[in-house]
């Protein structure tokens, strides 16, 4: 995979952080400088006019930012297309060509006459006659209505203060200073847009006045030019403050960072949960699997101090851990059988994809290497001939002695997916899979929550321009020879997917022709390129994807490692540190930034050791908190002072149903045979079937983690109470059959004892022994039942319907 490395030279042009040595004075706000009819200073299109129009809402989606414009006037959505916006104002666009300014009679300009309602305006009054806003626009027109050329770079948007701690009903006026690359600094508070991320905690009005309305924490986000700044706002509980509590015994770095935040908020964490609860939780989160009754009993009987961390280590070595995480990575990378390059064998290719990931997770390959194997994938490996490639690909289908796909150096199917033919679609998928970024917005207009513009998107998509599924020029002869020998369409300029017939030949051991993933050098954009905020250089002859990969591996990269750390965190808690997990943007900061930084840096310096990351999280006290709230933290959802119960994932639940009813003898296979596990090979087979659809298993058709859902619903409740599949589980239960056989054999000594059965039923489902009261209640129910077997079946049904079973808690 490193065949490009030799020809690559990666140049990072230093961008941010070149601070000014002697800070320049801060210019007064535009509302003061342009409050008079005339003055020496001219308002600037980029710095003043355009932000003002944004602030007033003119370029919003419901107004002139709409793609059709409004009333014959169209602005770029959320601004930043200065040329188009300037043209729209000064000359007009489209058929009507109606300029919005009048140079001879500035006061008659529509851009002031309409928002002051001197002329009829569907968007109502936006400012008053004689206001500074009107004067700013008039003075810009009077001075010649110049455009923003060249566009200047905003270095930083500085918000004072950097963190706001308020008590309820407090108000605070923000000050925002823009720092430009030419060293000028300006108070732009009156030109910013403001937004709160949770108006239950703090509100912000359009002049930047923050009001605390409820306890908790959130961010107020400020927008100006292409700058986005998020200010943490903390509203502690009454009585918070005072000296920081001593560190709890066993608290590591994660816990100290969480404790620091909780202290600010006045929250006290819940106590550490019991052993049975911990075992169930850790087994579900690490391996997607319930513990067995025997495992629960052993764990409860173990009195060693380090048993929890030892259990975490043990779970991380199971193949179920690799299966569950291969399944999650299949989600992030979009492994769907219907989208594989070769339709008739889509299901096999989906299995190969899963197996490739599974192998690397089982071997704990560094995450960056795993990703490089996907990002830099090519059909042929370095130096491989087309003949060898065709032989290799055919061998994976071979019935006798099949080749080992997981041993392949790279996974070519990610880029070869049928719904990813266009470079734009590749860019969107890539940003989602590996950067945790949603770029769709920037495809058509400036991203509303980050600094990315359409230009950034175009450059980014350019990196994937030459990535092709077809036949590389040097492979043509060999392709055509093999294809005609195998009776396949043999035109290398129009190569077809492998057909059912060709696949059948390959199964019999024949070599058939395959399309290959390759980089078409002719289509690669070379030279200096923008890469999501950074600048890089693509040298001729190189694979531009390698530049992207190298960029991701820079320690200062803000997305690659963070996105994965955040997703892993979200697996163990109900939410990511950044939520939604795949929406990293400047307006959506983490709930605990230092914690995300700590884990990201640790993950990078561990050389992307996935097990390190899992272990660090799963052995923290934060992960071991009880869900039971205390008097302070019932409302906490983002600061991890307690566990938030969450419904089991579709696949985990499906497997758990099977496991809870299996005979003791079958337990090992039911848990261990990954071919029959919904978290294993069944995952791609079952995505889309009724049960998996209603329980929210993703079909991996769109680039969004939100495709997976574990919210409860009515149909799910109907399903667990009354679906034929649930009845089949109970009616065909190996365990219930065993009990039935013992009851029927007439040997009284062999009859099961109700108390034992009740204990087993609890251990199998909710992974803990029943209390004495629960045992008594169930025994009474058995007495009133037709038979012990029927009573037990009802008890199992009741347990499978309990919240304690359906939730991970």
């Amino acid at each position: 995979m490193s065949r490009w490395a030799a020809v690559l030279a990666l140049v990072f042009i230093v961008g941010r952080g070149q601070g000014t040595s002697a800070e320049s004075p801060i210019l007064a706000p535009a509302s003061e400088r342009f409050a008079d009819d005339a003055g020496p200073e001219t308002p600037d299109f980029q710095r003043h006019v355009s932000p003002l129009l944004g602030r007033l809402g003119c370029n919003g989606r419901a107004c002139h930012g709409s793609f059709q414009g409004q009333g014959g006037f169209r602005l770029s959505l959320f601004g930043y297309d200065f040329a188009a916006d300037h043209a729209a104002l000064t000359t007009g666009v489209g058929q009507e060509k109606a300029p919005r300014i009048d140079r001879r009679d500035p006061a008659a300009s529509l851009i002031v006459a309409k928002p002051t309602m001197r002329r009829d305006h569907e968007g109502d009054r936006r400012f008053d006659e004689g206001s500074w806003q009107e004067r700013l626009l008039l003075r810009w027109i009077e001075a010649g209505a110049k455009s923003a050329s060249p566009v200047r770079r905003l270095l930083r948007l500085r918000v004072e203060p950097t963190e706001l701690v308020l008590t309820r009903q407090d108000i605070f006026r923000l000050q925002v200073v823009a720092e430009w690359e030419d060293d000028t600094r300006e108070d732009v508070t009156c030109l910013c847009r403001f937004q709160t991320n949770d108006d239950g905690i703090a509100t912000v009005n359009d002049t930047g006045v923050v009001r605390a309305v409820g306890e908790g924490d959130t961010h107020v986000v400020v927008f100006y030019d292409n700058g986005v700044a998020a200010l943490p706002v903390i509203v502690p509980l009454p009585g918070a403050g005072g000296a920081a509590p001593n560190a709890e015994p066993g608290a590591g770095q994660i816990d100290q960072l969480i404790a620091a935040k909780l202290h600010k908020l006045g929250l006290v964490p819940s106590s550490v949960c019991g052993d049975a609860e911990f075992l169930r939780r850790a087994s579900l989160d690490i391996t997607g699997t319930l513990p067995t009754p025997a495992e629960v009993e052993r764990f409860l009987a173990d009195h060693s101090a380090a048993k929890r961390s030892a259990k975490v280590d043990e779970l991380l070595k199971t193949s179920a851990y690799a299966a569950w995480w291969a399944n999650r990575l299949c989600d992030y990378t979009g492994n769907n059988p219907g989208r594989q390059p070769d339709g008739p064998i889509g299901q096999q290719q989906a299995f190969q994809w899963r197996a490739w990931l599974h192998r690397r997770i089982a071997e704990n390959a560094p995450y960056d290497e795993l990703v490089a194997g996907i990002v830099l994938a090519t059909g042929r490996s370095a130096g491989q001939t087309y003949d060898d490639y065709a032989r290799e690909m055919s061998s994976y289908l071979r019935k006798q002695d099949p080749g080992d796909f997981a041993a392949r150096e790279t996974l070519p199917y990610y880029w070869a997916r049928r719904n990813l033919e266009k470079p734009e679609d590749k860019a969107l998928a890539f940003a989602h899979s590996f950067l945790g970024v949603q770029l769709q917005c920037a495809q058509c207009h400036k991203h509303p929550y980050d600094r990315w513009t359409q230009t950034d998107f175009k450059h980014f998509a350019g990196f994937f321009n030459g990535v092709k599924l077809g036949v590389a020029p040097e492979s043509r002869t060999a392709f055509e020879r093999i294809a005609s020998a195998a009776g396949q369409p043999a035109d290398a300029s129009k190569p077809a997917p492998v057909s059912q017939e060709a696949a059948a030949r390959a199964e019999e051991g024949q070599v058939v022709a395959w399309r290959e993933l390759y980089v078409d050098a002719a289509q690669v954009s070379r030279g200096d390129q923008r890469l999501l905020g950074d600048s890089v250089r693509v040298e001729s002859g190189g694979d531009p994807r390698a530049v992207v990969m190298q960029w991701m591996r820079q320690p200062e990269n803000r997305y690659f490692a963070r996105a994965f750390v955040n997703r892993v965190w979200a697996n163990y808690f109900h939410a990511g540190l950044i939520e939604p997990v795949d929406d990293l943007n400047l307006a959506n900061p983490p709930s605990n930034g230092p914690l995300l930084d700590y884990l990201t840096e640790g993950f990078v310096s561990s050389k992307y050791d996935m097990r390190w990351l899992h272990r660090e999280i799963a052995t923290s006290l934060a992960y071991q908190r009880s869900w039971v709230p205390n008097t302070t933290n019932a409302g906490d959802r983002r600061n991890f002072s307690r566990t938030i119960p969450r419904r089991l994932h579709a696949e985990v639940l499906y497997d758990a149903w099977k496991q809870t009813v299996a005979s003791d003898g079958d337990l090992v296979t039911v848990r261990g045979n990954l071919e029959r596990r919904a978290i294993g090979e069944l995952a791609t087979r079952m995505a889309g079937v009724y049960s998996h659809r209603i329980f929210g298993q993703p079909e991996r058709l769109v680039a969004c983690d939100c495709e997976r859902s574990n919210s409860p619903s009515l149909l799910q409740a109907i399903f667990v109470q009354n679906d034929p599949l649930m009845y089949a589980r109970l009616n065909e239960s190996g365990w219930l059959e065993e009990i039935g056989a013992r009851l029927a054999d007439g040997i009284a000594d062999n009859d099961p004892v109700p108390g034992d059965l009740i204990r087993q039923a609890y251990l199998r489902t909710v992974s803990r022994p029943p209390t004495a009261a629960e045992t008594d209640a169930a025994a009474r129910y058995f007495d009133e039942s037709e038979s012990l077997g029927e009573g037990l079946k009802d008890l199992l049904w009741a347990l499978l319907n309990s919240k304690e079973f359906l939730l991970n808690h």
Partner: protein
């Protein structure tokens, strides 16, 4: 129209776009679209496979034999409107439906075409749009003891970006006369009585103590609790059990619908709507007539459809729910104008039909196709327009917006306009 956002992804990103008009409002102003009518229940009859438009509702008796096929048109009870001779029952009822003859698109593939017609949006890899029934489940309220949206027998496309909570209760099979019909999730297991189910339920209440007192603490705890109670209500409710029980119908009604799956499914749809279910999808399979188009239509497909669909309209009317129900019958595309070598017709999306009924609609045939039913002439309608009109008939603004992937506001129907000649 705005809706209360539920998840956080929805929550943080909504309402950022500032005051003023909502997009739906401004679009409506621009297009001068009619405002939505009062809320109605709805039935979608989906003729899966691509029904032959020129052999059903758009016959071309003047076309050359290899185009016009084997069937002749007959008059209906609406002067000037003719339909196929093998739809005699429907011919009596043309005053109760509107035929849209010039629906046109270009996705002549079952998967893509179905996705288009079932969601009203051209398929895109970026976003999965919801089916109409999921939209109804999300937007309109429905009785506690009934599912909001039932699909007979499966939900072909799903709830898309609205989320799994708004999927259909899929019956899993279609009712057939004379055989026991079990509905997934509604019918109790064989041998399980309602009293035993009740007893189990009481046991479950006794067992489910871990979160007692904390039921409203977290979304998932509260959700499981609420939905579990509602599910029990539905499963044990007399109304819902009876709605699904076709044996309660008089023999004459059963026979009026026809004893085949198509008719019995429509009878079930009728009963469900009557009971209070908000949306029912009926999938009628078998319309992909690449071979023996005429024999298949004449002997099986058309008689069954004629009986079933006419009985549906009449029975809804008899039971006084036709006015309060919007009905749409459509396939994913039409079929090739020219008959192929196997006496069949292949996929053809440039011309197809959709039929609207319910409300106070009826007595119209809108749109025309050319001499061989190959292309619309004059005004053509898109599947988006069909969807917008259907949602409008149900009482939902087709341009209302919901937060989709990463909170981006998305209109239910991106490109369609309500067909004013139909809207009521």
């Amino acid at each position: 129209m705005t809706y209360h956002p539920t998840s956080r992804r929805e929550f943080i990103k909504v309402g950022v776009l500032g005051a003023g008009l909502t997009l739906a409002e401004s679009l409506r102003l621009k297009a001068a679209e009619p405002r939505p009518v009062a809320e109605r229940s709805a039935i979608l009859v989906f003729l899966k496979g691509g029904p032959s438009h020129q052999d059903m509702f758009d016959l071309k008796p003047e076309a050359p034999a290899e185009y016009r096929g084997e069937f002749r048109p007959i008059a209906t009870n609406v002067p000037g409107v003719e339909i196929c001779e093998h739809l005699p029952q429907l011919a009596r009822l043309a005053d109760k439906y509107v035929i849209l003859r010039s629906v046109s698109h270009n996705l002549a593939d079952h998967g893509l075409g179905s996705r288009y017609l079932l969601t009203g949006n051209r398929p895109t890899p970026v976003l999965r749009y919801p089916v109409y029934g999921s939209v109804v489940s999300k937007v309109l309220s429905s009785p506690q003891d009934l599912p909001a949206y039932v699909a007979i027998d499966e939900d072909l496309e799903g709830p898309g970006f609205l989320g799994a909570a708004y999927g259909a209760l899929a019956t899993g099979e279609r009712p057939r006369f004379g055989r026991p019909f079990s509905v997934r999730g509604i019918t109790l297991d064989e041998g399980l009585t309602l009293s035993r189910f009740d007893r189990r339920r009481k046991l479950a209440d006794e067992v489910d103590t871990a979160f007692r007192g904390f039921e409203s603490l977290d979304d998932h705890v509260a959700g499981l609790d609420r939905f579990s109670r509602q599910a029990y209500e539905i499963i044990s409710s007399k109304r819902s059990r009876e709605a699904f029980d076709l044996t309660r119908e008089k023999q004459v009604v059963i026979d009026r619908f026809g004893r085949e799956e198509a008719g019995q499914s429509m009878l079930l749809a009728c009963r469900l709507i009557e009971a209070g279910v908000r949306f029912v999808t009926v999938i009628v399979d078998g319309w992909d007539t690449h071979n023996n188009n005429f024999r298949e239509l004449k002997t099986t497909l058309l008689p069954q459809f004629d009986r079933g669909f006419s009985a549906l309209l009449e029975t809804l009317e008899d039971r006084r729910v036709l006015d309060s129900t919007a009905v749409l019958c459509t396939g994913e595309f039409g079929r090739t104008p020219k008959v192929n070598g196997g006496a069949g017709r292949d996929h053809w999306a440039r011309a197809m039909f959709s039929v609207f009924a319910g409300g106070k609609l009826g007595g119209q045939a809108l749109g025309r196709t050319d001499a061989t039913a190959a292309e619309p002439v004059d005004e053509a309608y898109t599947p988006d327009d069909v969807a917008a009109t259907f949602l409008h008939q149900i009482g939902i603004d087709p341009h209302s917006e919901f937060p989709a992937t990463s909170g981006r506001p998305v209109q239910l129907v991106r490109d369609g306009n309500v067909i004013k000649a139909i809207a009521s």
